[in-house]
Amino acid sequence: MTMLHTVNKSPFEKDSMASCLRLSADGSSIILIEDGVYAALEGTAMSDSVKAAMKNRKVYALQEDINARGVQGKVMDGIEQVDYAGFVKLVTEHDKVQSWV
């Protein structure tokens, strides 16, 4: 079992996403929540590094936060959207959680 990382800040505001990508182990999962969902979008300065991370980590994004921000149409392929129930499930399916705030 592996770690679930949460990232809740925009990658353009803080280095939390960059640090998470640097310090999350292969095989771990990342869920983007709150402003963190902006890292899930296509065509940004972050997209390539997130896509590269997706090669050995699973990246999720919280659907409710994507919808709130009106960016549903821009989410990158390969990012799995989950709702709050899915978020809870991810927490139970991984054996610990680290929050990059």
Partner: protein, 135 residues
């Protein structure tokens, strides 16, 4: 008694600009009494917390940096500092406080508490933890 878990305290913020550095240290000190397997990680601006020579007289805030030197007395001796975070900030180990602990299994020999680790090493260390507290 409950099981022993590996607790990691992750510090990513500089001191004084916000309270997170100090209040996370308060958790570490109280937590020491619970005899869990504790480690601290200093990443990103968190490395600034350990810089020596802090003088807060002019800003009117309590200088809490001496508290780090006391961690060894609380059996907290696994202090990981990320190399990449230091380098990005032009810092070396010499800029940081020299934190030590006394190993009672080796005649109270004084040992270094700080280990500078690479991102890859720290990622692996993080993956081994049971409970991660972020501030």
């Amino acid at each position: 008694m409950s099981e022993t878990k590996k607790f990691l305290y992750v510090n990513r913020r500089a001191p004084y600009g916000t309270i997170y550095a100090w209040e996370s240290l308060e958790v570490v000190l109280i937590g020491a009494a619970f005899e869990q397997d504790v480690a601290l990680a200093f990443v990103d601006d968190g490395v600034y917390q350990l810089v020596k020579g802090q003088d807060t007289a002019g800003i009117g805030m309590k200088n809490f940096s001496p508290t780090y030197a006391a961690l060894g007395d609380y059996d907290i001796n696994k202090i990981y500092v990320e190399k990449e975070s230091l380098e990005a900030r032009g810092l070396t180990l010499d800029d940081l406080q020299h934190l030590v602990w006394e190993d009672e299994d080796e005649d109270y020999a004084e040992k270094d508490s700080i280990k500078v680790v690479s991102s890859a090493e720290l990622a692996e260390l993080m993956e081994q933890q049971d409970v991660v507290l972020s501030f």
